[in-house]
Structures are given as structure tokens and as C-alpha cells.
């Protein structure tokens, strides 16, 4: 097992290298560079920028270097100093830009994930064991709505309703006095109630999907012979349910952790934009739009690392949970 994990970790190196290269090239593909966008913005507001100022900025950000030199510099600093580079757009080190946001994003994502599982799995089990009952239909109906309506639309409607009813704009994660304040318990308390809305919205489609998956898988399992055998042998219904079919039914949850992690982090982008959350999604979007290559590149790299790690974790968990997988290789 340990060897397997080590092997997988070593495989990460070439994969991440390839990803970083592709990411860097793709970000640079659109015409122009960050400064073209910057100068265009200033031009739109009527601000004149002298040619020599532009030349100076180009040199300052290393944009006058050829593409490969920019890439090598980025890689060198990252590997040797752990320095992700400087975000041109923010005029700050990338790590500072991402730091707080990444933490908030992970908090939101993890809470969402837990909420999703906590809601979806019991409902899925209920729906499967009470197939075609009123409760099943009810949850299926809700589930389909959650699946079909995009999160950002629900967010918009929610924002609208709250604003027209109370006159408050429910945006952001903190009330104004805590924005940009250093972390403290007060700040955390201030954040928690405001977390509810994004967590519910981000989790909504995931919950709906998961209910359907759990229900489907469980229905499959329930009609299998081992269940019938166990039931014939007189195993108590509750024990039977949770000991065998449910364990089978939640397999897909674990095997999808790999792409759940990055999806939660980048998938909340639109919801975050609508709800004005200080998370990573909007920053990534903006960085890509203005070709802030070090910021966007570092971001995508982090997402890649998460995906690859997630896949690894899910593989390990699956092996641990599912004897069929664990013993799969031994028979050979």
C-alpha cells in the first residue's frame, strides 16, 4: 500500500509539470498581454499613458522577455523559493492574493460537502427504501429542481427577495466593519451566519445529484440476491441495510472525491460572483480575463494539484472501503 502511494506521488511530478506548461501557454494564447489590457482600460477612462511608462512596466513585469524565459523564471522561483510570482493585476505576491481566499474557499467547500452528504445520503436511503411513496416523490421533485436550476439563478432570486423584503444586500461574507480586518473570533462569528446562504446554494445541485445517485445505487443493490439471502437468514432489516447495500451505494461518492474538490473550488465561481464572496473563483476568472499569467497559472496549478490529490485519496479510500477492490489484485 505504502509503495502504491509513493508511486502515485512520484507520478504527480511529470503530470504537474506538463499541466504547468500547458496552462502557461494557453493563458498567453490570446492576443496582447496584461499591459495591452491595462492600457486599454486606462484609454477607456481617458487617461494617457506615456510610451516610456509602458516600456518601464513591461520591463518591471518581465513582459519584454520571450515566453520561455517568463516560464522558466516562474518555475525557477517556484521550485527554489516557493515563490509563485507576482500578480501583475494586483501588484502583490500571488501567495498574498490567494492566501485568505483559498482558505475561505476551502472552508465553504468543506462545509458544503459535509452538508451535501449529511442531507443527501439519508434522503437517498429513505427514497430507495420507500420507493414510490409520497416522501420519495416529494424529494425527487425537490431534487429535480435542485438539479435543473443553476445555482447562480437561485442566488440571484435569493438576493432579490432578501433585498426587496428587508432592504439589505446580502453580499459578501462579512459585515463592513470586519472586511479586511485581521482574523479573530469575532470575525468568525460574524462570518458563520453569512456562510449559510452560499453553503446552501453551492451545495444544492450537489445534494440533488447525490440523492438521485444514492437512490439509484441502493435500489440496484436492494434487489440483489445477497440482500434476499441475508433477509431470508433473518438479519435485522436495519443492520442488513447499513451493513451491505448502503456501503455499496455510497461507493460513487468516494470515487468522485477526486473531482469534487476542484469542482467545489472552481465551480462556485459564478455563485461567488453573484453573491460577491471573497473566494478564489472570481479572482481566477478575472486573472484569466486580463492575462495575469502568474496569478492564473498558479491558481490552475493549485487546482490541478487538488484534482490529482483528490483522485489519489479517493483511490486509497475506495481500496480501504470496498473489499472487492482491495482484494482485486491479490487473486492474480
Amino acid at each position: 500500500m505504502l509503495r502504491y502511494i509513493c508511486n502515485r506521488l512520484l507520478q504527480l511530478i511529470p503530470i504537474l509539470f506538463a499541466i504547468s506548461l500547458i496552462v502557461f501557454i494557453i493563458i498567453q494564447l490570446p492576443p496582447g498581454d496584461f499591459l495591452t489590457t491595462y492600457v486599454e482600460q486606462l484609454r477607456l477612462t481617458g487617461t494617457e499613458v506615456a510610451d516610456s511608462t509602458i516600456a518601464n512596466l513591461k520591463a518591471q513585469y518581465g513582459l519584454d522577455q520571450p515566453l520561455y524565459a517568463q516560464y522558466l523564471l516562474w518555475m525557477k522561483n517556484m521550485i527554489l523559493h516557493g515563490d509563485l510570482g507576482t500578480s501583475i493585476q494586483w501588484n502583490m505576491p500571488v501567495s498574498e492574493v490567494i492566501g485568505d481566499r483559498l482558505m475561505l474557499t476551502i472552508i465553504i467547500s468543506l462545509i458544503s460537502l459535509i452538508v451535501v452528504w449529511a442531507i443527501a445520503i439519508p434522503i437517498g436511503i429513505y427514497s430507495a427504501t420507500h420507493q414510490y411513496s409520497f416522501g420519495d416523490y416529494f424529494f425527487s421533485f425537490i431534487g429535480f429542481i435542485g438539479l435543473a436550476v443553476p445555482g447562480f439563478l437561485i442566488a440571484l432570486i435569493l438576493v432579490y427577495i432578501v433585498f426587496t423584503q428587508t432592504g439589505v444586500s446580502i453580499t459578501g461574507l462579512f459585515s463592513p466593519e470586519y472586511q479586511g480586518a485581521p482574523w479573530s473570533w469575532d470575525k468568525v462569528w460574524n462570518m458563520l451566519p453569512r456562510l449559510a446562504i452560499p453553503v446552501v446554494i453551492i451545495g444544492m445541485s450537489g445534494t440533488a445529484g447525490l440523492i438521485r445517485i444514492t437512490r439509484g445505487m441502493l435500489l440496484d443493490e436492494l434487489s440483489k440476491q445477497y440482500v434476499i439471502t441475508a433477509r431470508a437468514k433473518g438479519v435485522a432489516e436495519q443492520k442488513l441495510l447499513f451493513k451491505y447495500p448502503v456501503r455499496m451505494a455510497i461507493n460513487p461518492l468516494i470515487s468522485t472525491i477526486g473531482w469534487t474538490l476542484p469542482a467545489l473550488i472552481s465551480g462556485e465561481a459564478i455563485v461567488s460572483i453573484v453573491l460577491n464572496l471573497p473566494t478564489t473563483g472570481p479572482v481566477l476568472l478575472k486573472a484569466l480575463m486580463v492575462q495575469d499569467m502568474y496569478l492564473a497559472g498558479s491558481f490552475l496549478l493549485i487546482l490541478s494539484v487538488l484534482t490529482v490529490c483528490g483522485t489519489l485519496i479517493s483511490d486509497i479510500l475506495l481500496a480501504a472501503l470496498d473489499p472487492r477492490i482491495r482484494f482485486g489484485g491479490v487473486n492474480r
Binding site: 496582447g32 482600460q41 477607456l44 506615456a50 522561483n77 432592504g167
Partner: protein, 646 residues
């Protein structure tokens, strides 16, 4: 100065009695050709701040600064503070404000907030209302223009201080000019506006220090437009000619040996020897005032940045050089706070919820009804000011590299027909919801029949499918490529396409990314597009869209004939007229401006459909000294005059 003192005292007494009715708009007579000394506030003694002479103990400061261990306010102010005059009298009935409060703005860009930039910007000389019709000293105490419009002498304010309390001296000017502008490494090419003419005969300005408060900028040719360049063109600030030497010299190789700079260069992440990059990353230009590097940088602007990040915070500059006519040191409002939001709709929501005190750039005309409806609830007010430029004008590239295209669009009759085909009233109603008027620079006649007749006459016959054919027998197409940077553009383009289709023309429409637009524009690859031009309204500017409707001619002109293509005589005449504005004094330039408008009207170089476009701005209803007269941007310039009514 001495001889007007008794006069002043009398006026001061009078001012005390009619304090509340005080006007503060400094009305200086327009610059005349003769050698006129214009000490800041002596041209109109009535505008002299109370007790500027003699007893200076009457200056007042914000309670915010009390108990901060600062020197008394009169020691922080220059000997003769600037009496604020950002808006002309007819645009604003100035009220003496009260101190306090925080002005909240929002921005969608991570490090730039145009509301704050304009509030903060302080040019060397200013032009009330940003009108360009008169020029008054601002950061400088006074200025002088030689009879031949070649020599400009500026006198610094005695006792003027940077925001860290260090005095502003002639050394700061010398540093900015000799060590930055004239340093080939820091400034490889001098900006065109600092050169005596825009063609190849233009020579850089010469700089001379007269005494410890006075310096001279001279050109080898008349350059009467230099002052307007300093005052308003491209929103220039003082940073070209004034830099805090005491701070910046530690990053300049002339004052700090390279060996000492190396550790700094290294920690800033640059390669060894790149002191230029270090300097550029430390220096803060006027348009960089909201960037993180501006924290702690000595400035002359009303506010200093104290915190960068998602929420940018500014506090009042205790050494700010402006006062009102009651002797209150400006600004009135103590703090500024700019919050980053993720998109423009969020800005609107925050305004509706009363969480924004001032927003200029993000309010579009279609949003006005919604904002007006919620004014009461949100505690704000929507002011409808004028825009300082014509909006999105329509450009056909006369120098696009295709003989057939050129033959057609260079025919003035073709352009006349297209102008006849434009229903400017419909444009005003549809694009601007009536908050504009059809522009009369070019004829506002809308006559499809006549337009069709002209097109028939010049030989653009209709083909079998009803579309007009070019001289080569193929369908003549006008392919609009519109930058997605501005949402108005696409609405206008759709409308124009429909209107020109009525003439039997094939008009297509494509929206492209802003950066791609710029690249294609520079490469002369756009055939038809939409872009704005400040020229017709803000007359003092040299941008009349010529780099969009004729990029190659523009290149030819700017390079003195080395690049691009030589324009025909009519175009040369127009360019001549535009660039002559540089040389002329203010009054002459005002007359000349009408010439240029006529020239455009005769030749339809590009299509100007609307004028007097509204620039709505949402402002906290409690803020005073804001009006709905004049230009929106000028109101914004006057940020230091705003105050919160109790």
C-alpha cells in the same frame, strides 16, 4: 502683494460677516498673451482666504486630526493656501462644509478605483469645471506665460508640504525633471506633450531653475496649449514635474550606489542591476494612487492611502494645501473607503441598499429609472451631469488596406449618404433613453430617399438580392467589429446596422474582446467600428478619433511622414487645425475649435450622432457641494469639497 493688503483686510472683514454666503470659486481671467503674473489668489482679492495675510491663527482643521501630535494647522498649510475652485460659480453654489465622515465607493477592478483617482488627482494648474476655458494655479502658487507662448514660469507655494510633513522644494522639481524625465534609462522616450511639436521637428522642453521657488519650462516653438495639457489632458497630475525626492532618492542610482540598491532589487524580485525596475515599482504616478505601493508614499493629494487590499482605505492628508473661503482646511470628509465587488450588477445592488456614497463610472443610463425609483429608500440621489466626451462615435477606416473599400469610403458623398441614413433621434432615444441630443456637428437630416439617390449616383448599384455592389461587382460589406469593453457599443452598433441596411448596404456585426480590438486597431485591421472621441466636446484634446478612422494617416502625421501614408489635403488641413491647438493661447484655441467642428461637418470624417450625453452619478443624498450642472467628471474632481450634511 503688499499693495493689495489694505484691500484684502477690508474684504476679509466683509467675508467674516457674510461667511455663510461665501463663494469660493476662484475666477481668474483667462490667460492672456501678455506677460501676466498670476499669483494664485490675488487676481480676484475677493477670493482670498480669510486671514491669509497676517493673522493665520484662524485656519481650522478637522477634529479628526486633533490630538494626533501634529504641528498646528497654519504651520502645515502653505503660506498662501489654494482657495478651492474646482467648479465654476454657475455650476456650483458653494457651501462651507462641516468635517467628518467616510466616503464609501465600490470598484470592480482590483487596484484601480476611478472615483477615487479623480478625487485624488491634483494637477499643477487646474481648470474649473474641467472646461479648459480658464486656467488657475493649483499645486503651484502662480504661473507666467511669455508673450510668444514659449516660456512657462511656475512658482511653487512657499511652505507647501508632502503628506509626511517634508517641505516641497525646488529640488523635488529638479529630481522629477533631471533625474527622471531626462534620465534615458527611466524615460527612454519623452512623452509627446513635453515636446515642442508633434512632428519630427519637435524638441524636448528645456528646464531652468530660477530661484528656490521658481522654475521655467521652455519650448523652441509657441506651445500655448501647454497649460491645458498640464491641467486636464489625459487627467495629468503633478507627478510629472514633482516627485518626493527625499523618499525616492533611496531607489535612484544617482543618489544611492548600485551596490546598496542590490539587496532592495533582489527583495523586490528583480534581476541584479535592474534599478530602473526597482524605481518604477516604488514611484507612484498620479493614476497609481489606489495601488498597494501607494501606501506610505508622500503625496500632495487630499487623501493618503493607509490600507491596501480588498478594501482600500484612505485618510485625510494633514498637509493638504487647499482651504475654503472660511479658512477650513480641506477636505471636509475624513476618510475614503473603496470596496472590491465582483461585478457591476453588485454595484447597483449596493447603491440601492445605500451602501455606496458615490459612484460615477458604473451608473449607466438604462439603470437610471431603477435607481431613481429607490432613491428615497436607499438614501442617495442620482444627479444627471454631462459627459466630457461624445459617446461611442461611428468610424469607417479610411486607410484600410483594400482598394475597393478605400475607393468607396473615401468618397465624401458616400459618407454624406451614410450620415443621411442615420436616424440620430432614434439613436438618442434607443441608446441614451433621450438623455442626449442629436449632434449637429454633422447634419442631423435623416433622409433615406436622398441617401439612396446619392448611393445610386456614385455607382453603388443594387444587385439581384437588393444589396449594393462595390466597384468590383461584389457585394459591398461594412463589417463592424465592436469591442466588448463597453456595453453601450453593441446596442448602438445593432441600431446603426439596421439603419444602414435601409440603404441597401450589407452591414455585419461582430463583438470582439477589448484587447483584440486594440491589437487589430493598431495593425490597421478594423474596417468599421465604434469608439469614443473626447475632441468635439473637450476641445483641448488632440484625440478626434483619427487613430481609428484613419490609422495610417495618423501614423504619418505623428511620425513626421516616416510611417503610414500621406493623407489627402483635406485631412491634412484637419490634422493641422487639431494640432495647432497646441500652439494657441486659450482664447484663440476656443475659436479654432469651431473651425475643427466645421471641418468635420463638411467632410463626415467619422459619424458623431449624439452630444450632451448624460453622465448619471449616484451620490449619498447627505453629501453637499454637488450639483447637476456641468460635467460629471468635474464634480468628481471636486471631491475635497464634498461634505456630509448633518
Amino acid at each position: 502683494m503688499k499693495k493689495i493688503t489694505p484691500y484684502l483686510l477690508a474684504v476679509s472683514l466683509m467675508l467674516v460677516t457674510v461667511l455663510t454666503a461665501c463663494e469660493s470659486t476662484g475666477v481668474n481671467t483667462p490667460v492672456s498673451d501678455s506677460e501676466v503674473v498670476k499669483p494664485a489668489d490675488s487676481a480676484q482679492p475677493a477670493d482670498q482666504p480669510v486671514q491669509a495675510q497676517g493673522n493665520t491663527a484662524d485656519y481650522k482643521q478637522s477634529p479628526f486630526l486633533d490630538g494626533k501630535g501634529l504641528p498646528p494647522v497654519q504651520d502645515r498649510l502653505p503660506k498662501e493656501p489654494k482657495l478651492t475652485n474646482e467648479l465654476p460659480k454657475d455650476a456650483l453654489d458653494y457651501q462651507i462644509g462641516t468635517y467628518g465622515g467616510t466616503l464609501r465607493t465600490v470598484r470592480t477592478d482590483v487596484i484601480s478605483d476611478s472615483d477615487l483617482f479623480i478625487i485624488e488627482n491634483e494637477p499643477l494648474v487646474n481648470t474649473p469645471g474641467v472646461l479648459g476655458e480658464e486656467i488657475t494655479p493649483n499645486v503651484v502658487q502662480s504661473y507666467q506665460v511669455s508673450d510668444d507662448q514659449q516660456v512657462f514660469t511656475f512658482m511653487l507655494r512657499e511652505g507647501l508640504r508632502w503628506s509626511d510633513g517634508k517641505p516641497v522644494t525646488i529640488d523635488d522639481v529638479k529630481f522629477a525633471v533631471e533625474d527622471v524625465l531626462f534620465n534615458k534609462e527611466l524615460t527612454p522616450t519623452l512623452p509627446l506633450w513635453l515636446v515642442s511639436s508633434s512632428d519630427e521637428t519637435g524638441k524636448p522642453f528645456t528646464f531652468e531653475v530660477v530661484d528656490e521657488h521658481t522654475f521655467k519650462i521652455s519650448f523652441d516653438k509657441p506651445y500655448g496649449g501647454f497649460l491645458i495639457q498640464l491641467a486636464v489632458q489625459g487627467w495629468k497630475g503633478y507627478t510629472d514635474f514633482l516627485k518626493p525626492k527625499h523618499y525616492l532618492q533611496q531607489f535612484h542610482v544617482k543618489y544611492t550606489p548600485l551596490a546598496e540598491l542590490e539587496p532592495l532589487i533582489k527583495s523586490a524580485g528583480f534581476q541584479p542591476g535592474e534599478w530602473v525596475n526597482l524605481f518604477v515599482s516604488k514611484d507612484v504616478l498620479n493614476n497609481e494612487i489606489t495601488q498597494p505601493k501607494a501606501v506610505g508614499f508622500p503625496v500632495l493629494s487630499p487623501y493618503i492611502q493607509v490600507k491596501a487590499g480588498d478594501v482600500i482605505e484612505f485618510e485625510r492628508n494633514p498637509y493638504y494645501f487647499k482651504v475654503d473661503s472660511a479658512g477650513n482646511q480641506l477636505p471636509y470628509i475624513d476618510k475614503l473607503q473603496s470596496t472590491l465587488v465582483q461585478n457591476i450588477e453588485m454595484v447597483n445592488l449596493k447603491i440601492l441598499a445605500g451602501e455606496v456614497d458615490h459612484s460615477y463610472e458604473f451608473i449607466s443610463i438604462p439603470k437610471v429609472p431603477l435607481l431613481k425609483e429607490n432613491e428615497q429608500k436607499g438614501g442617495y440621489k442620482v444627479y444627471i451631469n454631462n459627459l466630457h466626451r461624445t459617446a461611442n462615435d461611428i468610424h469607417l477606416n479610411l486607410t484600410y488596406n483594400d482598394p475597393v473599400w478605400r475607393k468607396v469610403v473615401r468618397d465624401v458623398r458616400f459618407r454624406e449618404a451614410l450620415n443621411l441614413g442615420l436616424d440620430k433621434n432614434e439613436i438618442v432615444d434607443t441608446v441614451f433613453y433621450g438623455f442626449a441630443k442629436p449632434s449637429e456637428i454633422e447634419s442631423i437630416e435623416h433622409n433615406v430617399e436622398k441617401a439612396n439617390q446619392i448611393l445610386d449616383e456614385i455607382g453603388l448599384k443594387k444587385g439581384a438580392d437588393g444589396l449594393r455592389l462595390g466597384p468590383d461587382g461584389n457585394v459591398f460589406t461594412i463589417p463592424f467589429e465592436i469591442s466588448s469593453a463597453n456595453s453601450d457599443y453593441i446596442v448602438l452598433a445593432q441600431l446603426v446596422a439596421e439603419q444602414w441596411k435601409q440603404l441597401g448596404l450589407d452591414v455585419t456585426l461582430k463583438q470582439i474582446d477589448g484587447a483584440l480590438w486594440t491589437t487589430r486597431n493598431k495593425a490597421n485591421e478594423l474596417k468599421a467600428t465604434i469608439a469614443f472621441t473626447p475632441g468635439p466636446v473637450q476641445w483641448a484634446r488632440t484625440e478626434w478619433g483619427q487613430n481609428t478612422w484613419a490609422p495610417l494617416w495618423d501614423q504619418w502625421w505623428n511620425s513626421g511622414g516616416k510611417l503610414g501614408e500621406e493623407p489627402p489635403q483635406e485631412a491634412k488641413d484637419l490634422f493641422q487645425a487639431i494640432f495647432a491647438l497646441r500652439e494657441l493661447s486659450l482664447e484663440e484655441a476656443l475659436v479654432k475649435r469651431n473651425d475643427i467642428r466645421t471641418k468635420i461637418g463638411d467632410q463626415y470624417w467619422y459619424f458623431i450622432h449624439s452630444e450632451d450625453i448624460a453622465a448619471p452619478v449616484a451620490v449619498n443624498a447627505r453629501i453637499g457641494n454637488i450639483s447637476d450642472k456641468g460635467w460629471g467628471i468635474a464634480q468628481n474632481f471636486a471631491g475635497e469639497q464634498w461634505f456630509f450634511n448633518k
